[in-house]
């Protein structure tokens, strides 16, 4: 080949490549613009969402140079060079990443993929995936133990913690956590792993009790289950250094769900704060020895909704807690906090748990962040804190010396806001509520879950019609909404009803309601841990399916159509008939007898059950609350059959 010909070919190739690049950019811009325009012109979101990043977790490399940012919607991890505060590297990871850990030498990252049930092990130097480790269902939080040999992963959907042996890449064991464990961290002395649980187990007609699960790192066994009374949604765990008292700080929401919603006194019907948990002395750690004090971060006239991230400066002087619904980070003077805690008699957390006046004594600053702040980390030198802002794809920078905000770090997400993204921003924001008390996400945490509580909502007769909070995941096509079916669509719920009864404010305007409704209808259920493998049901699930569709009892008697499972829970409409049905579950505290038939998809992750949440398990729906066979004919079934039916329901 002649030199001229080769040069010509190379030039043609270069021109082709340049043309392809320009074309790709034009197409991307065209697609980008189309999406924005389409979304802006349509009352409901259309097409695929833009690749927003939505950062939710962060870690700083041990040398303080790199800030690693986990982006939940972007399915990627970014590396920010903290010298320049620029994103310099990024890589794709598994679907819906939620947690990150960094090895002590800084060379390896561990990132959970909540919807793929695995951990990506990443070479931090080259930003490549080294291997993938299988976990339990819905892995979120992740932490290394002191030895660096075992990775602890909080599995939100299987309610347990995977202990992964990093030498073999296999799961050594699982330890049962509380309900919906979302975050795990190693204690500073390395002897314990602490796990916070988002939801609670227990009867819906009693105040909730959260759990901090404590794992003995040496024995790899459960050391304690510390009860945190009266709260739910325990989030990130920050541990103060020993010189600052050594307590754990865990943000929470404190609901008063059994009080009628009209209650205003002492923080209306929910408040936001944090647990201050003092571990016992090293020689005697047990659940009885942990001392728990609860304090509110809310003020007298202003709430700081949805605590999320928490961190303590290396010198122990300051603690930072993000209020993701308020776009605020509270800077806490730990010395003053400790003084209040130590002045509170042991085990009398009630003395501080409802006091809205206390936060002014220990909160030094309330700093405005970006939209929906989540994780917060502090640089090893203690001079700077970084806050991930989920809803604007930025990282806020706090100068801990001046207590001033510096210029945020742009993570590079799309600058335009689609209506879907706008709906998400509305979903997570509490500024539409009176005194900023709550956002939609307050009672529908972790992207739209039910909080698992029964609430005394609006009713002409106070204290009656207590109803279980419904999930928002996978509800498209299941209208009407509310247990009494009085919301024919989400716009009714999110518009006037929310404004009048929930937020006690002007609420959202019409366009905002449409965006919010569109976002909620776009929420999807995560892959269920009970779903059958490749469409094949297990023997028990197959037997359960036959029971679900059965038309005759065990004795051969014909079951009336309206008392067959599939009659009300139609497989053609998300396993709901979308009408009100009286299945004999009303109690004397209800003013109506018939309730909206709930969809069954994702039913395994939605306890409690029935309209008032009185069934704590699927079994109880039939063992305790179906005495007259009104909720399907089940009295002829034995326990084996009931177990089989439940195993099938879990696959939905």
């Amino acid at each position: 080949m002649s030199t001229a010909l080769a040069f010509s070919l190379r030039r043609k190739m270069l021109m082709s490549a340049a043309f392809a690049l320009v074309a790709a950019l034009l197409l991307q811009e065209l697609w980008h613009g189309t999406q924005t325009a389409a979304a802006a012109s349509s009352p409901t979101p259309a097409g695929h969402p833009l690749p927003y990043l939505s950062p939710v977790a962060m870690q700083i490399s041990p040398d303080g140079r790199w800030l690693y940012v986990v982006c939940q919607d972007g399915d990627r991890v970014l590396a920010v060079d903290l010298r320049t505060r620029q994103v310099v590297r990024q890589m794709s990871v598994g679907h819906r990443p939620g947690g990150i850990a960094v090895s002590d030498d800084g060379h390896t990252l561990y990132v959970t993929s909540e919807w793929q049930d695995e951990v990506d092990v990443i070479d931090a130097d080259h930003f490549t995936v080294l291997r993938k480790l299988a976990t339990g269902a819905g892995p979120a939080g992740v932490a290394l133990d002191r030895t660096g040999k075992t990775l602890y992963v909080a599995n939100t959907l299987s309610d347990d913690v995977s202990l992964l042996d990093l030498a073999t890449g296999t799961e050594r064991k699982r330890l049962v956590a509380g309900r919906f464990p979302e975050y795990v961290t190693a204690s500073r002395d390395g002897r314990f792993l602490y796990v916070s649980n988002l939801l609670v187990r227990g009867p819906a007609d009693q105040p909730p009790v959260s759990e901090l699960t404590v794992i003995d790192a040496a024995q790899q066994t459960i050391a304690a289950r510390v009860a945190i009374p009266g709260v739910i949604q325990m989030r990130t765990i920050a541990e103060m250094p020993t010189n600052a008292g050594g307590a754990l700080l865990v943000p929470f929401m404190r609901p008063k769900n059994l009080n009628p919603l009209v209650q205003i006194h002492q923080g209306w019907y929910l408040t936001h704060g944090m647990a201050v948990i003092e571990p016992p002395h090293a020689e005697a750690r047990s659940s009885q020895k942990f001392r728990v004090t609860e304090v509110l971060l809310d003020g007298l006239n202003q709430s700081y909704a949805d605590g999320f991230g928490a961190v303590v400066s290396p010198d122990g002087r300051w603690a930072l807690v993000t209020a993701s619904g308020a776009d605020v980070v509270s800077v806490i003077n730990t010395a003053k906090l400790n003084a209040i805690v130590h002045a509170t008699p042991a085990a009398q957390f009630e003395l501080t748990a409802d006091r809205l006046d206390l936060s002014s004594e220990f909160v030094a600053q309330r700093l405005q962040t970006g939209k929906n702040p989540t994780a917060v980390v502090v640089a090893p030198d203690g001079k700077t804190a970084y806050i991930a802002n989920r809803m604007d794809d930025t990282v806020s920078v706090v100068n801990l010396g001046t207590m001033q905000m510096e210029a945020p770090i742009d993570l590079g997400g799309p600058k335009s806001v689609t209506r879907l993204r706008h709906g998400a921003q509305l979903f997570y924001s509490a500024r539409y509520c009176q005194q900023g008390q709550m956002a939609c996400a307050t009672c529908h945490p972790h992207g739209g879950l039910s909080d698992g509580l029964a609430w005394s909502l609006e009713t002409p007769q106070l204290g009656r019609d207590v109803v279980e909070n419904k999930t928002l995941l996978g509800i498209d096509g299941t209208a009407p909404f509310k247990w009494n079916g009085k919301n024919p669509n989400l716009e009714t719920q999110d518009g006037p009803r929310t404004a009048a009864y929930i937020f006690r404010s002007q609420g959202f305007n019409k366009s905002e309601v449409e965006d919010l409704a569109g976002f909620i209808l776009a929420l999807r259920l995560p892959p269920g841990p009970h779903q059958s493998n490749k469409g094949q049901l297990t023997d028990a699930q197959a037997r359960g399916r036959a029971i679900f569709y059965r038309t005759r009892t065990n004795t051969g008697a014909l079951i009336p159509p309206q008392k067959r499972c599939y009659f009300c829970h139609s497989p053609y409409t998300h396993y709901t008939s979308r009408v009100l049905m009286n299945v004999g579950t009303a109690t004397r505290y209800d003013t109506i007898q018939a309730f909206d038939v709930p969809q069954l998809e994702g039913v395994a992750m939605k306890p409690p059950y029935l309209h008032n949440g009185e069934a704590q398990s699927l079994e109880e729906i039939w063992t305790l609350f179906n005495p007259q066979d009104e909720h399907g004919v089940t009295s002829d079934m034995d326990k084996v059959q009931l177990n089989d039916l439940i195993e099938y329901l879990k696959t939905m």
Binding site: V176, I222, A224, E620, K639
Partner: protein, 403 residues
């Protein structure tokens, strides 16, 4: 000359005799040494500690009244199930008596199993099952979960699975996905699904059923094998080692050392080595009573918790020792039975709390014994005072020979 020759011959003969004598002496010494070694080896095999000291936990010192249904050792901790709650003993002291007020599903505790993987303690109770984890109880009943029945007699841990023996079959909880499986007469060869006992081995789960014999579940192949009265008549064997001695099985245990499973019944004791049965009745052994509530086994020792004392079988040598209180003196009684039936009685200052024994467990060389009136801690003779039962009995043959 002649005399000189005779003298030389005499000297030579004496030298030869001396050498022969020395050689014989050396041979004798070696023979003695060899016999000593053999004897010591034999003694070592036969050495069984005698439990001569008993520390009892009864109502008198703060223990709940009534029967102790089970006892389980968990390292330094001892769990005892009573009619009035679950007792935790640490360092010899009653640390806590857990009841329903603490969150326990019921106060009548029938079985305890420790999950060493997690540190959790599983509790079988009349009213359901509880798990004690990190200082908190979580409960399972047939109403709130897939548990087959609320009369739960036994609990066992098999990897990620928790087995619970109930009055309506064996329930198995998969702790990873929360699913429940019930094994009863509809899907397993249960003549009677009243599950009293569970024993987990690496390859099998043995289920002791009251009236249903022993049912073994093969974990690898998911297959079942029943062990019941071989001819199916009268629930009891007709000949001594014909098969499982009786279908009313109160307890089953697997000995990994001898690879045998043992079953206690209300009509005798059975052991199965995979080929042959080894049955014991009071009439032809040192078993204290045919009414056996529970059996435990390790090494060559098989312990039978009977209604008339705690009997220990040295399986390798067919020697028996029974411990019980003397109802007249209140002192302890040790009854040793040699293979030939000869018996010897010893008296000890202390005794188990009651002769009706329901369960026992090992803590090192110590034993813990559940009785009808309290919990007993059996402490063996220490240092060099271990007694070879067979030798002792042989030395003192003045004792009576049993009928």
């Amino acid at each position: 000359m002649g005399t000189g020759m005779d003298m030389r011959e005499t000297v030579m003969k004496k030298n030869i005799e001396k050498k022969i004598h020395a050689t014989r002496k050396i041979v004798r010494i070696f023979l003695c040494a060899g016999l000593c070694l053999l004897a010591s080896a034999g003694l070592k095999a036969q050495t069984v500690p005698l439990y001569t000291r008993w520390v009892n936990y009864t109502q008198a010192n703060g223990f709940p009244p009534g029967e102790v249904f089970c006892v389980t050792v968990d390292g330094d901790r001892v769990w005892a199930g009573t009619e009035h709650g679950l007792v935790l003993i640490e360092q010899g002291h009653i640390k806590k008596i857990f009841t329903t007020k603490d969150g326990l599903v019921s106060n009548v505790i029938m079985g305890v199993a420790v999950d060493h993987k997690s540190g959790d303690v599983w509790i079988a109770a009349f009213g359901g099952a509880s798990v004690y984890s990190g200082g908190q109880f979580r409960n399972y009943t047939s109403m709130s979960s897939g548990l087959a029945n609320d009369l739960v007699y036994a609990a066992a841990v098999q990897g990620e699975y928790i087995w619970l023996g109930t009055a309506a079959g064996a329930s198995r909880l998969d702790t990873r996905d929360g699913s429940w499986t019930i094994f009863n007469e509809t899907n397993a060869p249960f003549n009677e699904p009243w599950v009293y006992s569970l024993a987990v081995t690496p390859g099998k789960v043995y289920i002791g059923a009251w009236g249903g014999g022993v049912v073994a579940y093969d974990l690898a192949h998911h297959t079942w094998r029943p062990y019941t009265d071989p001819d199916g008549e009268m629930e009891i064997v007709l000949y001594r080692n014909q098969g499982l001695i009786h279908n009313i099985v109160s307890s089953v245990v697997y000995n990994a050392d001898t690879k045998m499973f043992w079953a206690s019944t209300y009509f005798g004791l059975s052991g199965y080595d995979g080929r042959n049965w080894h049955n014991y009745l009071t009439k032809d052994s040192g078993l204290a009573s045919n009414f056996v509530n529970a059996v435990r086994s390790r090494g060559n020792a098989v312990w039978a918790c009977t209604q008339d004392g705690l009997s220990e079988l040295d399986y390798a040598h067919n020697a028996w020792v029974t411990y019980r209180p003397n109802s007249k003196t209140g002192r302890g009684e040790i009854l040793m039975t040699a293979p030939d039936g000869k018996q010897r009685r010893l008296t000890t200052p202390t005794a188990p709390a009651h002769n009706y024994i329901l369960s026992m467990d090992f803590q090192g060389e110590d034993i813990w014994v559940a009785t009808a009136q309290g919990l007993s801690h059996g402490i063996p003779e220490r240092n060099a005072t271990k007694i070879s039962n067979a030798e002792k009995i042989k030395e003192k043959s003045h004792e009576s020979k049993r009928d």
